[in-house]
């Protein structure tokens, strides 16, 4: 049998710059997810800068999930400063995050990945797809709106500081969103069955998946790190238990969970979250998932789009709940006493767990930091899935495989700008 | 006989209630460490709040005495409301050989009552009326907001740290250009009518007798205010001193400090400069070449680089020239243009200049250096 080569120099409809290279040879199959996004050295230039810069700058790692960076950073900093953050501020932060989940997921589901299932090159190419593009833009607008009310703008918001916010949003402004949010929630519930009905190819998810878990709520900013293989550790120990691996053939740093001296890749993101925290969803959403015929746990990587649709609905319902109960905290931010120290924090970015670790000096300036974005945790898993898929379908023509592989990668919603650790081939 | 009477401080709310029947009340409110002007209710009045102002700085101090109006003017004035930061001039439509220019929709809101306009601002308002209503054609946007508006003036009893209206001859006492004049006394306000509209308002209040005692109390208070001024300007030498020194080296010195941020022009109650521009959003453009949109007028400033730009260059490129133009416009040109001073001595440009550039001190430097 002659070998087959599959190559995409520059993957479209994903955030950032990456390509795909795979070979099917008589005796073996190779698959590489190549990231060629240029490095930006955030961890280096943050050194010596104030902790507020950590909050403002790390947002610039990714335009799609800036809130995630701000949340991981601010929690780690607050842990170092031992700030007690009030419950109302915590709720406001969930609302902020809900906005980002909606915005990020809607972009991915409707504008980037959705067209794959309709054989379209873009969300605007086919007239028949336009209603979905419009729905996505509508959801996105509402998510953006929440982020803007709390943070000033949807991309790189400016309101987050240790202890809370620079200024609180007005209750009136939030209430004004309710009508549209409720309407959107209805539509987002219906969208779950739309997503469940898309034509998926079988791409089994048979590995470890990891997410936060916090009893009593669907995880965002707090919790322990758990997995389907029984992992249940604190944030700090999770970071201690994973190792980065600058894989020779690949461009990104791979992160692996260390067990018995062996590294294993794992999956973070909406699929992992849903599978590990389904019980924490509101009944109405659970019912909608069931009536759409979706089996939990979801065992097909391609069905990540369903998980995102479920989370869009969840984020809308969470936003509605928080706004209904919003009384406005007594103070915009709890007083924060600057202290030296080191802390790790993890929050659930739209694409999965985002790890920040900071060491601050007496003045509250960054001495050292480490940022592990979800996409760099997932790259190992992406390659492994591609490999499995190619092995199982090696008979198919290269052109078809190329399309399928691109679609698999897109299904992960990789955020390549996020993976700050990128090296040349 | 003009109506005159006293209103107990505890009944100040009555005045606002009467004004509020027919007008939106635009008045002072403490916010973010400054007294701003907004549509307010009685409770918003920062009663007793005092302020410290210095070149480039301002701080509010909590109130304690029985004085209601102990603060001096903040960054805002009537300007924000009568000459809004952005206003639509007209809408346009162009489609092939057809063009339409549609008037901006009439402002449907209730007219405004400016509550506690300071004497300096009364002079500025008089100038605005000349600029926007006094030409061969009245400015429609201004006219529609100004018509039906009501001016309740407040005599100043404490000069702000940067105020110099006394030397400008514009304060601290209101002389004309108001519908009602207020003076804060020991436990009441002396209210005096300034127009028939003002009288109508006053008639609806139950006022106490204002006799010789009240009148002399007012005089005393205003006189003691006059004695307390910290700042003055050499008004008697204006505008000559400006015209004589357009080439003075001191302008270079100012240019080193000047941020050309434009704050002075934006807070100045007499600065009126604007730029209008056609906005046609993507939604207003059709593939066939048809366009629709609106022309907006926005506050601008002679400190903007683009302000004096033409296709072949820029008439005022240097920072020095732009500062000089501003100061000369305030202290000399406006007088020539409209017969009134372009500076009313409110001190806003001194307080709200982040660099603390002080128009009175710079004029002194031009005189002496």
């Amino acid at each position: 049998m002659r070998g087959k080569t599959i190559q995409t120099d520059y993957l479209s409809r994903v955030e950032g710059e990456a390509g795909l290279f795979a070979r099917i040879l008589a005796d073996r199959v190779e698959a590489q997810f190549r990231v060629f996004e240029a490095p930006r050295f955030f961890e280096s230039f943050l050194k010596g800068r104030s902790h507020q810069d950590a909050i403002d700058f790390t947002a610039r790692i990714c335009g799609i999930c800036p809130v995630a960076y701000q949340m991981s950073a601010v929690h780690a900093i607050e842990k170092i400063f031992s700030v007690g953050v009030e419950q109302p501020i915590k709720q406001l932060r969930r609302l902020f995050y809900a906005g980002e989940w909606i915005e990020s997921h809607a972009l991915h589901v409707y504008l980037l990945h959705g067209p794959d299932f309709y054989g379209a090159a873009s969300a605007w190419e086919k007239k028949s797809y336009l209603p979905y593009a419009r729905l996505g833009l509508y959801f996105k607008k509402l998510g953006n709106g929440l982020m803007a009310i709390i943070g000033g703008r949807p991309v790189h918001p400016v309101s987050v500081k240790a202890g809370g916010f620079f200024k609180l949003p007005g209750k009136r402004e939030l209430i004004a969103q309710m009508g549209e949010l409720e309407d959107a929630y209805e539509k987002s519930i219906q969208a779950i069955s739309w997503a469940a009905g898309l034509p998926f190819q079988p791409v089994p998810l048979d590995t470890e998946y990891v997410a936060l878990r916090q009893p009593g709520e669907y995880p965002m900013n707090e919790g322990r790190v758990v997995s389907n293989l029984g992992l249940d550790v604190s944030m700090g120990s999770f970071l201690d238990g994973i190792r980065q691996n600058q894989v020779g053939h690949s461009t990104a740093l791979h992160w692996e969970i260390q067990r018995d001296g062996k590294g294993e890749n794992y999956l973070a993101g909406p699929l992992a979250r849903i599978n590990l925290n389904f019980d924490e969803l509101p009944e109405e959403i659970k019912d909608a998932v069931k009536s759409a015929g979706v089996q939990i746990p979801i065992a097909n990587i391609e069905m990540g789009i369903i998980a995102r649709c479920i989370e869009i609905a969840y984020a809308f319902s969470e936003a509605i709940r928080i706004i209904k109960n919003y009384e406005g905290p007594a103070m915009a931010a709890a007083g924060a006493q600057v202290r030296p120290g080191t802390a790790t924090w993890i929050t659930e970015a739209p694409r999965g767990i985002l790890i920040h670790r900071y060491t601050l000096d007496e003045a509250g300036n960054v001495k050292d930091c480490l940022i592990v974005p979800p996409t760099s945790q997932n790259t190992g898993h992406i390659e492994r899935t591609l490999l499995n898929h190619l092995k199982a379908n090696s008979g198919k023509p290269a052109e078809a495989l190329k399309k399928e592989c691109e679609r698999i990668i897109r299904g992960y919603d990789p955020c390549i700008s996020c993976s700050v650790h990128v090296v040349k081939m | 006989m003009a109506i005159k009477g006293t209103l107990k401080k505890a009944r100040l709310e009555d005045l606002l209630a009467v004004l509020g029947k027919s007008h939106r009340i635009i008045g002072p409110k403490a916010e973010g460490g400054a007294v701003v002007m907004e549509e307010i209710g009685y409770k918003d009045i920062p009663s007793g709040v005092r302020d410290l102002q210095w070149p480039g700085g301002c701080r509010l101090l909590p109130g304690k005495d029985s004085q209601v109006f102990s603060f001096s003017p903040g960054p805002d004035s009537f300007k924000r409301f009568l000459h809004p930061p952005a206003s639509e001039l007209f809408a346009f439509k162009r489609n092939g050989a057809k063009i339409d220019f549609l008037p901006a929709p009439k402002i449907a809101e209730r007219p405004m009552a400016f509550f506690t306009v300071r004497p300096c601002d009364l002079s500025a308002l008089k100038l605005y009326d000349k600029i926007f209503l006094g030409g061969p054609v009245a400015d429609q946007a201004y006219e529609s907001l100004r018509r039906g508006s009501l001016v309740v003036a407040l005599n100043c009893l404490y000069p702000g740290d940067n105020c110099f209206c006394l030397s400008m001859g514009t304060g601290p006492e209101a002389r004309d250009g108001f519908d009602i004049q207020m003076t804060e006394l020991e436990d009441s306000f002396l209210l005096e009518e300034g127009s028939a509209k003002g009288a109508e308002i006053l008639e609806q209040l139950s006022l106490g007798q204002a006799g010789a005692d009240e009148i002399s109390a007012k005089r005393r208070r205003i006189e003691s205010c006059k004695a307390a001024f910290k700042k003055s300007i050499a008004a008697h030498e204006l505008p000559g001193i400006i015209y004589a020194n357009l080439g003075h080296p001191h302008w270079d010195d100012i240019a080193r400090r000047d941020l050309e941020c434009g704050n002075c022009t934006q807070v100045c109650p007499t600065c009126f400069c604007s730029t209008s521009y056609d906005y046609a959003a993507l939604g207003g453009i059709a593939a066939g070449g048809a366009v629709s949109g609106k022309r907006f007028r926005k506050w601008d400033s002679c400190f903007s680089r683009s302000f004096a730009r033409v296709h072949s260059g820029n008439f005022r490129l240097s920072r020095k020239a732009r500062y000089r133009h501003w100061m000369a416009h305030k202290l000399a040109y406006t007088q020539a243009q409209f017969g009134l001073s372009g500076c009313v001595g409110c001190g806003r440009c001194i307080t709200w200049c982040p660099a603390g550039i002080d128009i009175t001190a710079e004029l002194e430097a031009l005189r002496h250096v």
């Binding site: - | 050989a97 063009i99 429609q140 015209y243 400069c273 730029t275 056609d278 046609a280 007028r297 020239a321």
Partner: protein, 279 residues
Amino acid sequence: MYDRARPFAARVRWAKKETRDTSTFALWIEDEAIRRQYTFSPGQFNMLSVPGIGEAAISISSGPEDGPLLHTIRVAGDVTSAISGICASNIVGMRGPFGRGWPMQEVEGKSLIVIAGGLGMAPLRPVVRRLLKSGMGHGTDERPVLIYGARSPRDILFRHEFQTFGRLFDVHITVDKADPHEHWKGRTGLIPPILEEISLHGPGTIAFLCGPEVMMRCMINELLLRGLPAEQIFLSLERNMNCAMGTCGHCMFGPKFVCKDGPVFRYSEVRQFMAVQEI
């Protein structure tokens, strides 16, 4: 009076290319009521607009007694390019007329010297046309003088009209530079030397100038030296123009608003500011 703040539609009756970058447009005010009220004097200008692009101040280059309302426009930036792309029977927006024009009544009894540089001929054309119409009847035996300087022979505006102008005026044309292939037989060089050749009657002369400011400055000095009183020198100034009604502040020249106090100024009114850089 019709609204001066909101444009009205003016139809391009015809457009004629004058030079490589300049064309003359004949405009016809669509609204009959406005058309009847519309009157102007030489030296005044209109604000012409292309909706969505913007507005530009353009002098009226025809005389009040001429038929069509002419505008001679050089492509400089956005608006002027957009207008130049508009062809006959299409429409532009117009506001106006604005400003104070040339003091035609003061010409009476004096000998007139008109000095134009480049596009500066446009607002002076109505002056020439007016005098042509009224013939020699401006109360003096002197032939009025017209000095015109252009960049090059192909930049001469209204070039076919100068012969007509010459019926009344003593016409002097010069170009900065001429390429040999243009076969230019006229003068080359700057304007000032021309002035030296002309005999002036000092106080009995009145001068109208329009052109680049450097040129005007230089010519004014010369005229003053030759005994013209500052009160009898008039110049048309150019500044950034936005509202044209003295409320936007853009066009200020010292205390003067070019839009309403000008664009034509008596030199004695502005002399003090002409000397100041970046005024």
